[in-house]
Subunit: 147 residues, 2 copies
Amino acid sequence: MVRTRVIPLAEQLLDTLGEQGYRSTSPRKAVTQAIAGKQGHFTAEQLRQQLPGVGRATIYRSLKLLVDSGALCRVLLEDGNLHYQLSHQGHHHHLLCVECGSSQDLLGCDIEDLLHQVSAAHRFQLSGHWLEVYGRCYDCLPKTATG
Amino acid sequence: MVRTRVIPLAEQLLDTLGEQGYRSTSPRKAVTQAIAGKQGHFTAEQLRQQLPGVGRATIYRSLKLLVDSGALCRVLLEDGNLHYQLSHQGHHHHLLCVECGSSQDLLGCDIEDLLHQVSAAHRFQLSGHWLEVYGRCYDCLPKTATG
DNA sequence: ACCATAATGATACCTAGTCTCGTTAATATC
DNA sequence: GATATTAACGAGACTAGGTATCATTATGGT
């Protein structure tokens, strides 16, 4: 028995906004559904092309709300472009594949300790950091040339 | 005996371009001198206001050449804005003061090793990374409240 | 001094994002 | 279910950052 597969993630995103007192409007539903269907990172412009019926300002407003609420995060590509991406936890980093554009969350990275040590050596009071890691994911590694 | 203090850095920058076969034009001299006089990071827009006689495209072109040659690097501010900054060595990171906007180069940071380990654990072939560190520099630390 | 051509500035254009403002629609209340 | 409040909307102007085109200028080699 197959029931209609309503992507629950879109509703989650909408709920996140609802919990903060924001209304559940149809443009926001469209935006959250579009985002929920995304694999990896995306730009506001891509959303705009995907949702011609939704105003430009509305898309940016929704993105901002979702970023502020922590549901979305921004990733810095190697070329300096900032994209949006679903955020699965609080503070974390990304392994960005330069080949296929996919991204994995970087878990278990103890960079904080290291940064605290180095900052202290520079008499610098650490308050935050931004780290992106670039390379090739397993699927994009050259498999034929193993030598 | 005080001789006219010609900022040598501007000439260095120009020389860097010269070594790569680029001509030494007066707009480029203006741009490199303006950059040489900068403390910390700056935007192309700031250069533009400082150099109204130099065309917008020329400023961006010069910045691009200097970034490509390694003389300038780009820093990512906490708000996501990218600024330019003089680069004193190859690959390095910045300690960016969120109070005064100054930046120190982060030396002796062994993040590479750590990243290689963590990447390997994710079956990810590391090729590069981008790290910015935010906080307060020594001059901006609250000095009265020591308790 | 001359000449090839690199570099320039004006301009149009693009992406990314904000702001304003008159209109629409979601929700709380009755 | 009607109504009123007000959040949210879309259109469009605007800003910042940056690229592409192209006719003109100036650099640097001969």
